[in-house]
């Protein structure tokens, strides 16, 4: 999967699942400060990404994600494994 496809899929998950407007979804956006997600959202985001990609997310890697770019890279690694 190309990075652009990863970005599109992750953005769709966050927009549809967490009602974040697409215009706020830029790589440097902080998941918590900018996108206003919290600890419950983080778990549900992880579950949603697992369902969308069909791959198990490493929770330790996911816990360290702070920006949207961190999530793009994590999902990119996941789908190219």
């Amino acid at each position: 999967m190309q990075r652009s496809e990863v970005v599109m899929e992750v953005n769709k998950v966050i927009h549809e699942g967490f009602e974040v407007p697409f215009e706020k979804l830029n790589p440097s956006a902080n998941l918590f400060a900018d996108l206003e997600l919290d600890s419950l959202d983080a778990i549900d985001l992880m579950v949603a990404l697992e369902e969308r990609t069909g791959h198990k997310v490493n929770i330790e890697v996911f816990k360290n994600a702070r920006t949207l770019d961190d999530v793009y890279r994590m999902v990119g690694d996941l789908v190219t494994q």
């Binding site: 600890s39 419950l40 959202d41 778990i43 549900d44 369902e51």
Partner: protein
């Protein structure tokens, strides 16, 4: 100390405001519809239900909405309606209230049945919690409704979640009345909510209490007190009332809609599902006693009567024993269906509207009295009636019986 109802809110199968349900009751509408898609459930015979009217929950902030199932969404809408009517605007719900002397008393039969089914389906499929969402539990916990209402409306005061199936909202209101009378609270936001689901319907179908003979004529069921009744029809909704002490209402210049005079709830302690006339008589007697009223002072009885073969007979016998055959009696289950935890408050709200209009709403679908029943007075259609006090019953699985009394303001 007198306790008044100062606000009322509702989401239901007949409409999503107090004015809408009153108009629907005057027209004799029913919320019951065919649900043929339930035919796929093995063993389920009752394929009718009364779903709530469509409502818009989009105004609820996402972080509050994400943990809500429909019952919490409906309860939030009904709570706002009730608080607004009581004089507390949405942009300042709590500012005029002492948070330590305000109580939310509201419940549901269970947590969200829809979410429970999905939760366990996933768990069985995956052999454990793998893939479970973090927000699921908050939809299925027993106090999901009041907690979610509090979260959505930024309420930070005391909260209780009474749960007694079909007596839930009656019990929540009576508990509120008791606690205001005790001097602990000035204002109680009380009621209940439940959402429609095939598993709730199945509960009644399994114990032979659901209507199964009218799948092709949904508007003809349920039939409280009627000879051809064959069971209840599940509905859904939320109904909330604001109860307030006389002193608090006067101090803030609020307007009372009706006086909440009394109530009682008892467990019959003998059977989980079989209604018992003596237990019904006992709880109505206690409600009258707590109101210091004689049975002759009750001028209308809003019956629980869900349309079940056993329950309606037992309630008719108990009403006959308590009030004789002259006091008018009706059940609103033929209009709304049975909204379970919400029904007690829906019926109080509807009866307060009857009190205001001095009109009684007769039992929809009642055509011919069951010869097994005493000939209690069951008016049909809409009847003009000068009256000032009514008694409303709710009886629940688990043997939880409740009965409450409401009067016109200034009648006592």
């Amino acid at each position: 100390m007198r306790v008044y109802i100062s606000g009322m809110g509702v989401v239901s199968s007949l409409g999503n405001s107090v004015d809408d349900i009153w108009s629907a009751l005057l027209r004799g509408d029913t919320g019951v519809k065919a649900v043929p898609e339930w035919g796929k459930y093995n063993g389920l015979r009752c394929l009718v239900a009364a779903p709530a009217h469509k409502y818009d929950e989009s105004f609820i902030a996402r972080k509050a909405r994400r943990t809500m199932s429909p019952m919490s969404e409906m309860a939030t809408i009904a709570t706002l309606q009730a608080m607004n009517q009581a004089g507390f605007p949405s942009d300042n719900l709590w500012g005029k209230l002492d948070e330590h002397r305000t109580l939310i008393s509201m419940g549901s039969t269970t947590g969200s049945p829809e979410t429970l089914e999905e939760n366990f389906r996933r768990m069985f499929e995956r052999g454990g919690p793998e893939g479970q969402q973090a927000t699921t539990f908050f939809k299925i916990m027993n106090h999901s409704v009041p907690s979610n209402v509090a979260s959505a409306l930024a309420y930070q005061g005391p909260l209780l979640s009474p749960s007694s199936a079909c007596s839930t909202s009656a019990q929540a209101m009576i508990l509120g009345w008791e606690l205001i009378r005790s001097g602990l609270y000035d204002l109680v936001i009380a009621g209940g909510a439940d959402e429609l689901h095939h598993t709730s319907n199945s509960t009644f179908d399994v114990v032979q209490a659901a209507s199964i003979g009218f799948n092709d004529r949904p508007e003809e069921t349920p039939r409280p007190f009627d000879r051809k009744r064959d069971g209840l029809v599940c509905s859904e909704g939320a109904a909330i009332v604001v109860l307030e002490s006389e002193a608090h209402l006067e101090k803030r210049g609020g307007k009372p809609l009706a006086e909440f005079v009394s109530g009682a709830y008892h467990c019959d302690g003998t059977h989980m599902s079989q209604p018992q006339t003596p237990a019904m008589v006992k709880v109505m007697t206690q409600s009258l006693k707590r109101a210091n009223l004689a049975s002759e002072q009750i001028e209308y009885v809003n019956a629980h009567a869900t349309g079940t073969v056993m329950g309606d007979v037992e309630e008719a016998r108990s009403i006959d024993a308590m009030f004789g055959r002259k006091v008018p009696v009706s059940s609103l289950k033929g209009h709304f269906g049975h909204s379970l935890a919400a029904c007690g408050a829906i019926e109080v709200i509807s009866s307060v509207k009857m009190l205001e209009a001095q009109k009684l709403i007769g039992t929809r679908n009642f055509v011919e009295r069951d010869p097994e029943m005493p000939a209690i007075f069951l008016p049909q259609g809409v009847v003009e009636k000068k009256f000032s006090t009514f008694l409303s019953n709710n009886f629940a699985f688990g043997g939880i019986n409740s009965s409450l009394i409401v009067s016109k303001v200034g009648a006592r």
